[in-house]
Symmetry: C2
Subunit: 396 residues, 2 copies
């Protein structure tokens, strides 16, 4: 195995996130304190996460639930409630929170600790932000019981906004994870023999990603003319195409890219459809720079789609990416996410990162797609992991 040099988000006596921006967002919303409990927001606010519970959470009939507590304007009152199983890791990395409490491993333990710690900070009757889509009912019941005079409100949109513009250390992680995923895809494509099942190719890609120091998240793939993107006993046969769309993580930061291969030389028709997809992708990225409205990226891409010979079966999507696979700026409708029209009407900022994706369901060729990672800069963009965007030709 190659030893990989992995950058990390910084920990230390001060947090890496912009506390001034968080305070302003909380004040605007009338929120006095927050307790973040989701994997992505705890990681964002803390700079690290539990190693033991990074990939699972269930214990007995309850679940692990960490809580990062923050009182507006008071970094000195920050706290982390976590499991005794986390203590070794946190003694190694020393996160910024002045208070670290190994309060237990269940959601009830954590709710009790959060109530006590917020009470000690004098905000037990204040407005407290929690994550409605991530706190379990059991946590909410216990917190409500223990803090009967607090007003609990959803803080999720504020934390999504806080994460929207990435710091240089976050951009570096997103660059590295994207490069490693493309490298893992190329290795997988070149190592695959004719007539291998998509299940085996899926598992091989997972293995190649983990061997490069990544967490494996998912792989959607197609072989030949099939449009079914789930791994199965279907095989990749000579003359057929392969699409690999995969997500992997590095310290929680997601790369999400799609690349194409063919077993043997691509046909003229294969070259034509990939060129169409590339044309849409190029149009979209060419528009990107700080100050452009998110919706302009979508409109430019869709204008190119409209002119394609294969327009009727071509789709374009773009979404922010970071610790969450679809996050702010959610510039256009489509994909699995709730669309927020406000995102389309706001200007892109330097440090935002977009995943832009064009796919074509070409019945004569198969599922043809490119997905690229585009970091917004002051005067344009930088593409992460931008190799292998032509047909990867695998001899057979």
């Amino acid at each position: 195995m190659t030893t990989v040099d992995t950058p990390s988000t910084s920990t230390g006596s001060r947090p890496a996130f912009d506390a001034g921006k968080l305070d302003a967002l909380l004040e605007e919303a009338g929120i006095d304190a927050l307790a973040a409990t989701s994997r992505h927001n705890v990681r964002y606010l803390l700079g690290t996460y539990s190693l033991f519970f990074e990939h699972f959470d269930a214990v007995a009939d309850d679940r692990y639930l960490p809580a990062l507590g923050y009182v507006r304007g008071r970094l000195d009152q920050g706290f982390l409630a976590c499991s005794p199983l986390d203590v070794h890791h946190f003694s190694n990395v020393e996160p910024w929170t002045p208070s670290l409490v190994a309060s237990g491993t269940t959601s009830v333990d954590t709710a009790a600790a959060v109530a006590r710690l917020l009470g000690e900070r004098g905000v037990e009757t204040a407005t407290i932000g929690i994550e409605d889509a991530f706190v379990p009912l059991r946590f909410h019941r216990e917190l409500t019981r223990a803090l009967p005079h607090a007003t609990l409100v959803d803080v999720s949109p504020i934390l999504e906004e806080l994460r929207a513009v990435k710091r240089p250390d976050e951009l570096e992680l997103l660059r590295v994870v994207s490069e490693r995923i493309v490298d893992a895809m190329a290795a997988t494509m070149h190592a695959t023999a004719p007539n291998t099942t998509t299940r085996e190719i899926h598992d091989r890609l997972a293995s190649e990603e983990v061997a490069r120091g990544l967490g494996f998240e998912y792989c959607l793939l197609t072989a030949g003319t099939s449009l079914n993107r789930a791994p199965s006993t279907a095989t990749w046969d000579p003359g057929g195409i392969l699409s690999l769309d995969s997500g992997g993580t590095l310290h929680g930061y997601l790369g999400d890219l799609t690349r194409m291969a063919v077993l043997g030389e691509p046909t003229p028709r294969m070259r034509e459809v990939l060129a169409e997809v590339q044309a849409v992708q190029q149009t979209a990225r060419a528009v990107v720079r700080a100050g452009v409205l998110g919706g302009e990226v979508y409109e430019a891409a869709m204008a190119t789609v409209a002119d394609l010979p294969d327009a009727p079966h071509t789709a374009f999507v773009a979404h922010g990416i970071g610790l969450v696979t679809h996050e702010s700026p959610r510039v256009i409708a489509g994909g699995p996410i709730p669309y927020d029209p406000e995102h389309a009407e706001r200007p892109l900022e330097a440090g935002m990162v977009l995943s832009i994706e064009t796919d074509m369901k070409a019945v004569d060729v198969g599922f043809v797609k490119l997905e690229d990672t585009i970091a917004v800069t002051a005067d344009g963009y930088e593409a992460y992991g931008d190799g292998c965007r032509e047909w990867t030709v695998v001899p057979c």
Copy 2:
């Protein structure tokens, strides 16, 4: 990469779980229908799980949440509410639920679908079981709003009980995952050069597990005399010991084992302390058979601990293992889980699976531990992945 032959839980026109037992448990608790939403219980009741969302759930400011719906006594009314991103996988494996609804990718989408589907089945005013520790507040709010006359109760203990005795196909998965983890540990130990960091060893083990077709869950490890079990820049140096405690999954089923290595020949003292740990493990497993009370395993092990030269720094824990790392039968107190004294007072049944673990904090040697997987049989036990329980000697 070696291609691995992976067994799978069956899908088909009938579910693999014991519907009669579930009906009896629900009736005893007065529950008319249930909507399971946790990863482990959806997988258990369905026989498979989303591939796209197997490792993450966050999307925008909400989360993916599947729901498996079941009306007591009515397999014909079973349903799955899932994401459009799941449809390709489920069209490949064809789960047993007569109704499969791609209702959306957020917890709000799922709550609305569950309310509608339960309403169509005529149980909108009934007692409905949900998982209190796993449903997000946002799901609960929407479900309560949409089903104002339903009584929502916690169904978690019933589902934990339903999973306690494993079927032959589950036992086979637990056997295979345990064997592969031990094999991955041996490969990692033998491939490690002196002075490698524990972070690198951790990443190597993850890679070896994934290369064997497993999901990597966690690895706690120590090197030399350190008792800190989190990966770091600490190195495994000549003459020092290494403990590897790791969890991996196969179709969601967890293996969790600990094995020991030494760089160079073990000292007499090293042989002594591992023999002490082995003595406790042997005592515990020798007691195991159907009909024995869970607490008897604990008492036997603790009696052996009491006689050890290193008794004061030796600990014993045992817990059920399956789709959840600590699950029924939770035979003794200790570890991260809530202790349930009823578990200690009930007889073990054939098909239950225990993880038994003994660790010793020997300041002169380091952290010495064995953790084994013990399946209960009618007249004894079967140990899964039972190799490498002596010192693995790595030349240096």
